[in-house]
């Protein structure tokens, strides 16, 4: 069998991010940060051509826009007020970060320690409460470890499945946490209990590594597949979207 060239971890997680948007159709695919943004744009260029993607400022762009690219084919205007309207209307899937996450998908981007006087002030809740209660949310977490994947988060900036269910069927029906993508694995909540499940492990990562890096009991299926490797077509699109290799500095190979 022919030896494949080194596959970059960054490319694997970008493809996993793109996969998270599969089936979304004509909604706003919003990526916070380099990897989620590249994932959304890769999805739009390959599997989900109907997705709307923004320039990260205030415009929807119809062309394949590289990171930092200024040659924009503008197809729509999306100032923050319209972002709120779109997300409250449910026509959005955001992939964002999380500094803490628990087994039910409650997330924290706000602060570490007590809110009244945090030991570390982070971003604050920002749009997390509104995002998670209104539309599909996925997460990109570059450092998978037990401090991040923990039994309880210090401040709930994003609702997990337990809190969404407690608010009744309307909210539960709008709430979806689709994927958690990390430097080690892809996780989801696709079981009856809606408890975090190991979906796949990246090349070179053992299931036990993920279990050890997770501070709560993961649902680990009997068979855990490897995270799919990028296709040549995907690699070509990624190279066009990130010609300067920003992704490789952000997610170095282990």
């Amino acid at each position: 069998m022919e030896e494949r060239a080194v596959v970059n971890l960054a490319d694997i997680v970008i493809c996993a991010a793109a996969e998270a948007f599969r089936g979304d159709g004509e909604i706003f695919a919003s990526g916070m940060g380099t990897i989620p943004m590249l994932g959304a744009r890769l999805a739009r260029s390959t599997t989900e051509p109907d997705l709307l993607v923004s320039d990260g400022e205030a415009f929807f762009v119809a062309n394949e826009l590289p990171i930092g690219g200024t040659d924009k084919l503008i197809e729509g205007w999306i100032p923050f007020r319209s972002v709120f309207d779109t997300l409250w209307g449910g026509r959005r899937h955001v992939m964002m970060g999380a500094s803490q996450i628990d087994a039910r998908g409650n997330t924290n981007i706000a602060n570490i320690g007590p809110w009244a006087r945090p030991t570390a002030q982070l971003l604050g809740v920002r749009g997390g409460p509104g995002n998670t209660i209104n539309h599909t949310v996925s997460f990109w977490i570059p450092g998978h470890n037990p401090k991040v994947f923990r039994s309880q988060v210090d401040m709930v900036s994003g609702l997990g499945y337990d809190r969404a269910a407690a608010l009744g069927p309307t909210v539960a029906g709008m709430h979806e946490l689709r994927r958690v993508i990390t430097n080690l694995a892809v996780l989801d909540f696709a079981n009856d209990e809606r408890r975090m499940r190991l979906r796949s492990v990246h090349p070179g990562v053992a299931v036990d590594d993920v279990v050890a890096a997770t501070g709560f009991e993961l649902d680990v299926p009997a068979e855990v597949p490897g995270t799919p490797l990028p296709s040549d077509e995907q690699l070509a699109v990624i190279a066009r979207l990130d010609p300067r290799g920003v992704r490789l500095r952000e997610v170095p190979n282990p």
Partner: protein
């Protein structure tokens, strides 16, 4: 009128809303005038950036209502971070970004509250125990968060152009929520600073009628403030001064450096500030 004239109409203890978003099109020259004033015990309402950071560092804030506080290209506002971690702001109200829009919109429509799902079930409900829910009176019976109206005593916004009477224009990509900050404030202390005051006849010279989102019934005073949003951006007139923002953030992280920075840039008038920035730029180039 000048920034100092505007600030002279205010009194300590007032609730002041500040437009813009993060480190974007902030009415910084008005904020700098606040820093020069004797005003204290202020309630500040903002999608915060360096406006909140500077006022927090100067000890002007008794209560802060915020959707976030960030410098955008630098995710965490250093003064805000220190203030939160050392507990120097006596009262904080942290809202989901959309909740803050609703609070201002409710005030501008003279409604007691507006309903939403954003915030329900989150830590926002736990850290703001005064928040209440409301049940839909219709068949669905859904329980929703009633975001209370947030009326302001004063509002500051920075726009690209305005005429002398207060018809104002944004030429950049986003109005943000500047119209709602003005709408939420009672008449008397609603101030627009702008890059350039133009004749009413010239308001459509640089942008379409769609950009005239602020009319004079929403504004009590206009201040011409070229480069007034510095170091935040004011597109298309100028981008954010990233180098200066970096220097600000570095200085803010260290008390001694901050003393020097504040002494150099914030000790005098707005003209002094602009001159000090110009001199700093010359040194850098």
């Amino acid at each position: 009128m000048t920034e100092d004239d505007a600030v002279a109409t205010l009194s300590s203890g007032m609730t002041i809303g500040i437009g813009g978003w993060g480190s974007r099109r902030k009415p910084m020259s008005l904020v700098r005038a606040l820093l020069r004033s004797d005003l204290a015990d202020l309630t500040i309402v903002a999608y915060g950036g360096p406006d909140v950071g500077l006022l927090a560092a100067a000890g002007k804030i008794r209560k802060l209502v915020y959707g976030f506080v960030s410098l955008d290209s630098i995710a965490l506002e250093p003064h805000f971070r220190i203030a939160r971690q050392t507990g120097t702001i006596p009262e904080c109200v942290e809202y989901d970004e959309g909740m803050l829009q609703w609070a201002l919109y409710a005030a501008s429509l003279r409604l007691p509250f507006l309903p939403t799902r954003a915030g329900l079930g989150s830590g926002v409900m736990e850290t703001n125990p005064s928040l209440r829910t409301v049940r839909s009176p219709y068949a669905d019976g859904e329980e929703l968060l009633a975001v209370p109206a947030l009326p302001l005593d004063a509002a500051f916004v920075h726009l690209n152009r305005a005429d002398a009477r207060g018809n104002a224009q944004f030429l950049g990509p986003d109005l943000y929520f500047d119209d709602l900050f003005l709408g939420a404030a009672r008449p008397g202390h609603r101030f627009v600073s702008c890059e350039r005051v133009v004749d009413t006849a010239d308001l459509l010279a640089e942008g379409s009628f769609h950009t005239l989102r602020i009319n004079r019934s929403m504004v009590d005073g206009v201040i011409e403030a070229p480069n007034g949003a510095h170091f935040t951006n004011c597109q298309p007139d100028y981008e954010r001064d990233e180098r200066f923002q970096k220097a600000y953030a570095a200085a803010a992280a260290d008390p001694e450096q901050w003393q020097a920075f504040a002494g150099r840039f914030l000790g005098g008038s707005e003209a002094d500030y602009q001159a000090a920035v110009a001199a700093w730029r010359n040194e850098q180039s």
